[in-house]
Amino acid sequence: MMLPHIEYLLPETLEEACRLLAEAGDGGVVMAGGTDLLVKMKAGGVVPRLVVALGRVPGLDRIAFSEQGDVSIGATTRLADVAGNERIAYELPAVAEAAADTATPQIRNMGTVVGNLCNAAPSADNAPCLLALEGSVSIQGPSSLRELPLAEFFKGPGLTALSCGEIVTRVVVPKVGRASGLSYRSLSARGRVDIAAAGAAALVELADGVCCKVRVVLGGVAPVPLPVPEAAQVLEGTEPAADRIVAAAARAAAACTPISDVRASAEYRRHVVEVLTRRALAQALERAQANAGRAS
């Protein structure tokens, strides 16, 4: 199982990486951890002439918190580093949990959160939480830098809004309100090693006992990680109640368009994503209530 005879470069600046990619055009591809890309290359699904790896670009592996409390996860920050970051685990436990539930210990020491997003699998474990948090990506091109909401980043299975010569340098999520809770639940046949058949993230923020902000995002049940605003609206502006969570989950299941494949049938995915949405909403609410109690 050998790799094709590629050129492999490790530029030491972002500018150099963008320039190399832009010059290579369709023949160039960017690599962070390589745990998805190299597998595709070995299978012959992707055959680039040039691979530009980001591993030697300083600073891209940082997790940073702004003064406002925004969290920034760099392009080469490994899944294990996000899973093990104490402040993320405290402030956004579901983000750390999603990273910890991605793949295997070895892959988490190699693969990155940003790579998981850029691979653009509909089932990407790290996408639903970051979408629920209304995250955005910073994209460096050969001549300019742009910010793009994650909600506009995913274009289809394996497809993103990136164009030639562009590199995602980080994903940023704004600070959440103190009385909020986030949860991600996923299911797969073979535990963490396997790709999730379906997943659901929920964000619940409380104000005076009312759900002032709710987000529901599904994974693995549509061509892209899928925000479902109509499910969130069932709860927004109301006092949290079990029957509303059930109704919101039913909306989520109705909104998805799953396919049947080796991991699960469409029917099973639709069924299970409803259960996972219920569980995610219940846990997000529980966490929001606990955080609200701590805040007051």
């Binding site: 790799l3 005879h5 492999y8 597998v39 070895q106 797969s188 046949a189 059930v246 409803e274 219920r278």
Partner: protein, 201 residues
């Protein structure tokens, strides 16, 4: 064009010239003759090629050789301290019959080593999680889990092997008290069974 790299493997530094498309697993096995590292699937799924890179377990089949330039690699050949003496993890695998065909064993041992470095007294669940990136098609895993537990006991005692408290005891006894674990439960699902009857709140 070949690229010069410098690898430190099991404490020895090698200056090599490698083709840019070669993986660390290929260079270890073919250039350095360290064939203890096995390549099973070549896709990062089976973990047979696990080595420790700068202190962390990685799959060497998806690690570019050029990315290992200037870094420290530990393979199964570097696990045993010296001569004929085995590492406690290796000793526990042998004594506990945690080996059948043996192909997964080097990777299992490297993952076990990384786990015990980070967490010297793991619970059974933690052992299962620590080895979740290593597949074995022979043993059914229970003997492997028991062997890691046994090795953890020996290493915490500082005896470095079954010469301490464990003298005369079998690896099986080392795992005593835990009992067999129903395999249906673990590594298992990320979430519980999707029971439609369960309430959401």
């Amino acid at each position: 064009m070949k690229v010069p790299i410098s690898l430190t493997v099991n404490g020895d530094t090698y200056d090599l010239a490698v083709d840019p498309w070669r993986t660390l697993a290929e260079v270890l096995r073919e250039d350095l003759g360290l064939t203890g590292t096995k390549v099973g699937c070549g896709h990062g799924d089976c973990g047979a090629c696990t080595v420790i890179l700068d202190g962390r377990p990685v799959v060497s089949c998806l690690t570019m050789a050029m990315d290992a330039n200037g870094r420290q690699v530990l393979t199964v050949e570097g696990l045993a301290p010296a001569g004929d003496e085995l590492h406690p993890i290796q000793k526990a695998f042998v004594e506990g019959a945690a080996i059948q065909c043996g192909f997964c064993t080097p990777g299992m041992e490297m993952s076990a080593y990384a786990l015990l470095q980070a967490n010297p007294q793991p619970s059974e669940e933690e052992i299962r999680r620590g080895l979740s990136g290593n597949l074995c098609r022979c043993t059914g895993y229970n003997k492997i889990i028991e062997a890691v537990n046994t090795a953890a006991g020996w290493m915490v005692e500082g005896a470095g092997g079954p010469g301490g408290r464990g003298t005369g005891s079998s690896a099986g006894e080392g795992a005593g008290g835990r009992g067999a674990v129903p395999l249906g439960n673990a590594p298992g699902c990320k979430d519980g069974p999707a029971d439609a009857g369960e309430g959401g709140a």
